[in-house]
Symmetry: C2
Subunit: 360 residues, 2 copies
């Protein structure tokens, strides 16, 4: 794969009051010696395409309601300033032709496809977001998930699990929120962390000198990747699976929780840092919600009566998914109350809901 052969898109759209003069724009493409094709649209406005040199391709549409869209596809090694000039010329000509009767002009940043490093990681609420990612630091497939650590200029390294941005080195705000936003005292306490393979929570809780932290993370590959590449998050805490006041069990948390229930173990704090609440709001995905409820149910059983259970929820915009999650809380074998907090986690580029749950 030739890394030079990437693809760019420049997108331009205009809102005009009159579309009649637009064919005059064609002369600009003709000057560029582009080959024109006019397409029959069956009454859906004017549509022409132009093929030029070096793989350039332009789609010009004049929609019946006054919207003009111009898309330009080109390769990364193309002459970008020449192309900017072409777009500028189009903009100038349109303005002149339409005598200022343009409501709005919008030129979007180029959308790059086929690049070695993928910069587009949509938010949980489905918005198109371009990250400032400039490198893939680590990539492995485990039996459970695809694990990537990507480098962002502003956020540092970012852990991406199955395409979801999990945590960046900039995201102490996430760790603080899922620990109760500085309002808890972990000194001398029994703490259980479910998941948390990036080591962020473990590293922060350890500082408060708890009696014992047990962290149950299913994937050694996540731990290994983060140990090497997320050190601003985990420090040296993942270098050993055991320390003065912590132990990391590389296991599925469900059988561990079941064993603890049987043994009558109790924890003062349980921090669930497993995968997010399902994004889907379709409850026919029964198994996901059932899995979530199973974890919750088992956890609440090993939670001290005055203990607290912390977990991340979802994007604040996904109100349906949040409501469904809260409905699950009403279905636990032991009745619970909860509160929630909206937190800005820098690398998420969307506000995130965190839950605190306790026994009634």
């Amino acid at each position: 794969m030739d890394s030079k052969c990437l693809m760019l898109r420049l997108l331009l759209s205009f809102y005009i009051d009159s579309a009649s003069t637009v064919p005059d724009l064609l002369s600009i493409f003709h000057e560029q010696e582009m080959t024109e094709t006019v397409h029959e649209t069956n009454g859906h406005g004017y549509l022409a395409t132009f093929v030029g040199k070096n793989g350039r391709f332009v789609i010009l549409r004049v929609h019946s309601h006054g919207l003009v869209t111009i898309d330009l596809q080109c390769y990364e090694e193309d002459n970008i300033s020449q192309l900017d000039n072409l777009l500028n010329a189009l903009e100038t000509k349109l303005k002149a032709l339409l005598n200022g009767n343009i409501t709005r002009i919008k030129r979007l940043p180029a959308l790059i496809r086929g690049a070695k490093v993928d910069r587009y990681w949509p938010t949980a609420d489905g918005r198109l977001i371009e990250y400032d990612i400039d490198g893939v630091v680590y990539e492995e497939d485990s039996a459970y998930q695809n694990i990537k650590i990507l480098h962002s200029q502003q956020f540092g390294n970012i852990l991406v699990l199955n395409g979801d941005v999990n945590l960046a080195e900039s995201d102490l705000a996430y760790t603080q929120a899922i620990m109760g936003s500085g309002k808890e005292d972990y000194a001398g306490k029994e703490v259980l962390i479910l998941g948390g393979g990036d080591g962020g929570i473990l590293a922060e809780v350890v500082k408060q000198k708890p009696k014992m932290i047990t962290m149950v993370e299913i994937s050694f590959i996540v731990i290994d990747g983060c140990k090497m590449h997320m050190r601003k998050t985990c420090g040296d805490i993942l270098d050993n699976l055991k320390g003065d006041c912590y132990q990391i069990l590389v296991e599925d948390c469900v059988p561990v929780l079941k064993k603890y229930v049987k043994e009558g173990r109790m924890f003062d704090y349980i921090i669930n840092d497993l995968t997010a609440v399902p994004i889907s709001t379709e409850p026919e995905e029964d198994s996901t919600w059932e899995f979530l409820r199973l974890i919750l149910d088992l956890s609440i059983k090993v939670l001290h009566p005055s203990g607290k259970y912390f977990t991340q929820g979802n994007s604040v915009n996904l109100s349906e998914a949040l409501t469904l999650y809260e409905e699950q809380l009403g279905k636990l074998s032991c009745p619970v109350d909860f509160s929630k907090e909206v937190v800005c986690v820098p690398s998420y580029l969307e506000l995130w809901v965190f839950y605190t749950i306790w026994k009634k």
Copy 2:
């Protein structure tokens, strides 16, 4: 303009090891009764376009280095689930044809153009960002700038000046940062705010019972819009241009600063909330930098020897622009020192640099 006639784009790209079987994909478009045009590309891969019903248009490119891109244009009132099915069918067929020899498949969220409400506001460092904006609350043109207040589901109302996201109701972090991040005591102090028309800084400083705040904002239209629509930010502070310990001068700050210099006025805190450091890193835009330096120079002259001057800088990623700004600080008539802090302002979707400046 018909609000139903909006435009969507669905973007799909594949990385494949072999492109030979791709023409087999064509049958899917033929089944959809789309009219095909194959374009001559002079050795730049395979390029076909398809015009379908309801204004649908597909661009299929098979690039010589194994990248396949499929772009689908359609109108918002089109049958979106039918189109999703088409894209799913293409994905399935490609996977089958290529026997799993696909390195990566990426389907991006639709890019919407021509909508009444524009959701795309690129970051200062030029990245494509889709906001969750669902309404235009306020729009006016002043002699100085275009003023918009847009509603975001998660951030509340957002003030956008000349297309730049200025401040959202979620952005107390901005106000706290430009006030010195909670490390200053404004009680009994003389405070000067340059700009700040959204009232956020004024509302926060007033709480600390300073001796007097003078705010100099050039645009009454900004004040008026924010007074109505940014009340989570400004509270009722903008309802009156004068209060117990503050006054708002609706004036250009340069003559005001010059007058203060002449009068020998001194301020304990000066907060510059004027427009951002120019994004451009081309110092040939002399006038912008000179304007910036003029403001700085005048401000430092009215700054108490033990006083502090706070200002926002720029995106942390725009290191060249930041360096140029810091060079200006070395050129002031009075020598100064400075420190900087990187802050996450929720609605910016990029980390932002704030400066503290003081007399040496």
